[in-house]
């Protein structure tokens, strides 16, 4: 890893500290220390999406593709943002052009003009891998190339995946795809390389509206865990019995 984060951290400890920064708590840990601390503590990663604060800017998608080296022009993506427009005639118009990578800057949906006065409600729903407790995708992998780690994240072994596509078929959420250059199955892993160093996932870091947050369900003092435990949250498609671990605030009946 050529990144100079560790150098920065060293300097930061000895040098000037900007105490007003919200992430300053992490500055005192070196990468190794953070990793060790996470390995020792019991961890169950989960995610909280607040659909009421998402503005559909798509900067999470852009950050995700860059951070995780998913070819930028390819239509596949590890996370995406869906737009829902429910009109007065009871119809639901849904779109997610390029996964919402370029945001939603036009009010047309698939070239269809929708009269603003005819809209009952409209909102954005970010989607990502649910890191299920009972991941159907893992169950069906014929070679053990995808698996659940002890902290609940489902990873894919790029050296061992045969590319049969069974996991893609098995996921009810459609989060998996074939990586355009690696030629193996791929999906969101909550930026495992970041969260295991004590950082936030790229999409969380780049969200300006707090619509995406990472939680450690094993830590009762985690502020996001507190929200998941105390507020009314929902999950997507629980009828499949996969026990998804991405929780949503303000999830609407129209959301698919």
């Amino acid at each position: 890893m050529t990144c100079s984060r560790r150098d920065f951290l060293k300097e930061a400890v000895g040098g000037t500290l900007v105490s007003s920064l919200p992430l300053s708590a992490f500055v005192f840990l070196t990468t190794e220390e953070a990793e060790a601390a996470i390995a020792e503590a019991k961890v169950r990663w989960a995610f909280l999406v607040d659909t009421t604060t998402c503005t559909g800017c798509g900067l999470c998608v852009k950050a995700c593709k860059t951070e995780n080296e998913i070819p930028y022009e390819a239509p596949v993506t590890r996370t995406w943002v869906e737009r829902y427009v429910v009109t007065k005639d009871g119809q639901t118009h849904i779109d997610s052009p390029l996964g919402g990578r370029d945001g939603f800057i036009d009010d047309k949906i698939r070239d269809e003009e929708i009269d603003p006065d005819n809209i009952d409600k409209a909102f954005f729903v970010p989607k990502l891998c649910n890191q299920c407790d009972n991941p159907a995708c893992v169950q069906v992998c014929p070679v053990g190339a995808t698996y659940q780690t002890h902290d609940g994240v489902v990873l894919i072994d790029r050296e061992w995946c045969i590319g049969c596509g069974y996991c893609i078929m098995a996921c009810p959420y459609g989060v998996r795809f074939f990586h355009p250059t690696a030629k193996v199955a791929d999906k969101c892993n909550f930026c495992y390389h970041r969260i295991s160093k004590g950082m936030q996932p790229a999409c969380v870091e780049c969200c300006s509206f707090g619509a995406r947050r990472l939680a450690n369900l094993e830590d009762p003092d985690d502020p996001v865990t507190k929200i998941i435990r105390t507020e009314r949250v929902a999950v997507l498609k629980d009828e499949y019995g996969t026990k998804p671990h991405v929780f949503y605030i303000g999830l609407d009946e129209a959301v698919r």
Binding site: P71, E73, A74, P75, V76, T77, W80, E82, T92, I94, D95, S96, L98, G99, R110, K127, A136, Q139, V140, C141, P142, V143, G144, A145, W160, C161, I162, G163, C164, G165, Y166, I168, M169, A170, C171, P172, Y173, G174, V175, R176, F177, F178, P180, T181, K183, V184, E239, Y240, G241, R256
Partner: protein, 417 residues
């Protein structure tokens, strides 16, 4: 977009309304071919077993042929999977680290076991012939014969005992293997149905009936293909021999035998009825229970795929051949037409399951259309296109020709063995 950036599925998927960004038709023509070819293998084997195990004497001639033909089909059942894999060089991994909670993990093991059973059975049926050939070719001159003889020597695996007792043991062993082979063949194909039936994310596939439906239609297609190939080869041979002036015995010129075909037809019709009943039961049940997914399923079945399902599969592929076979005064030509339609019908059934299951989005809010690549312009569009499928269809016939050079499955009046 960069040259080596290939998004699998973009070439042939057309999306309509809202489809999740990562959804494409990932399982295309080769995955249609896979259950189709495995079905033919299983069906061919079951047909041969009807003679070997249940002593259906009237099926003796077609049984010899269908046993060898099922061997020729066997590698071709794995070929579509190999062509479909994104990492074909890792194809051995299911045997190295099988993850048995996956239906696909069993493929390598069941496939290998089944292959060994078929090979052993053929060995027992033809061992006497191999030994005879080794002796017969001993005095023949020429490099080709020497080579052929050494192939036969290998094929005997060193067992040259052709005494009456030994041959009797052979026969018994073949019968036992055929009996073991039936459940294995059904398992080989039934679990292909399980691969689809167990995908809970897919509203069309998820059904406990899927494995049984697959076995039934597999036997239908297997019997149909064996009958068809048998008729064509026999008629062609007879035609050829008549042209040469009947130098051979009269019994050699008779072509396909009517009673062989009529009795095979009875089994075909029986399995066809079972297959259709189960499929209709599945359809009725989905409509009656009308779960959340029924809205989109109905719009696919009765709308977008109506032609494929009800016209091509049920009418042209099932109903028409059923009538053609059951009406009195059946001729060989009519039988051939009916068999072709049956094969087409089973293919359409596979198509409607595999492609139809991906015709709608997991969001239940959009559709995907499969546009099969005709003219290949890359390895990907060849493998997952029309020519890839044609390669898969052609291979068993080439293999059969090769195998038949050493194992005369079409020989008439074989000594009682």
């Amino acid at each position: 977009m960069n040259e080596d950036v290939i998004v699998h599925g973009v070439e042939w998927t057309v999306k309509e309304l809202f489809v999740y960004p990562n959804e494409f038709i990932y399982w295309s023509i080769q995955i249609v071919m896979y259950p189709y070819m495995t079905g033919l293998v299983a069906g061919a084997f079951v047909l041969s077993s009807l003679y070997h195990v249940f002593g259906k004497k009237e099926l003796k001639e077609i049984a010899q042929f269908s046993l060898v033909f099922s061997l020729a089909l066997l590698p071709v059942a794995a070929l579509p999977l190999l062509l479909h894999l994104q990492q074909p060089l890792r194809a051995m991994e299911p045997l190295l680290t099988p993850h048995f909670t996956s239906a696909i993990a069993a493929f390598g093991i069941v496939f290998t076991a089944y292959g060994l059973i078929v090979l052993s059975e053929i060995w027992f049926v033809y061992r006497q012939y191999f030994v005879e050939q080794v002796y017969a070719l001993k005095s023949e001159p020429g490099f080709a014969n020497t080579l052929k003889r050494s192939v036969y020597r290998v094929l005997t695996i060193g067992a040259y005992d052709v005494s009456a007792g030994a041959v009797k043991v052979d026969k018994k062993a073949a019968k036992i293997l055929a009996a073991i082979g039936i459940p294995v063949a059904c398992f080989l194909h039934g679990y292909a149905g399980f691969i689809f039936g167990s995908v809970k994310a897919n509203a069309l596939w998820m059904s406990p009936l899927m494995p049984v439906i697959f076995i039934m239609s597999a036997v239908v297609s297997g019997i149909a293909l064996c009958m068809l190939t048998y008729i064509i080869i026999m008629e062609w041979q007879a035609f050829w021999q008549r042209r040469r002036g009947g130098a051979l015995a009269a019994s050699e010129i008779k072509g396909a035998e009517v009673d062989v075909i009529s009795s095979a037809t009875r089994y075909l019709l029986g399995f066809l009825v079972a297959a259709i009943s189960l499929e209709l039961l599945d359809l009725i049940f989905r409509g009656y229970t009308a779960m959340k997914s029924w809205d989109i399923l109905r719009s696919v079945m009765y709308g977008k795929d109506f032609m494929n399902i009800f016209v091509l599969q049920y009418t042209l592929g099932n109903l028409v051949p059923f009538v053609l076979l059951i009406l009195p005064g059946r001729t060989m030509k009519r039988t051939v037409l009916a068999l072709l339609l049956v094969l087409f019908g089973v293919f359409m059934m596979r198509w409607n399951v595999v492609i139809g299951g991906q015709a709608f989005s997991l969001s239940f809010s959009g559709y995907m259309h499969y546009e099969i690549p005709i003219i290949p312009h890359s390895m990907e569009t060849f493998k997952e296109g029309l020519f890839g499928a044609l390669t898969v269809i052609a291979t068993p016939f080439v293999l059969f020709w090769v195998i038949n050079q050493f194992v005369p499955s079409l020989r008439r009046n074989v000594e009682e063995n």
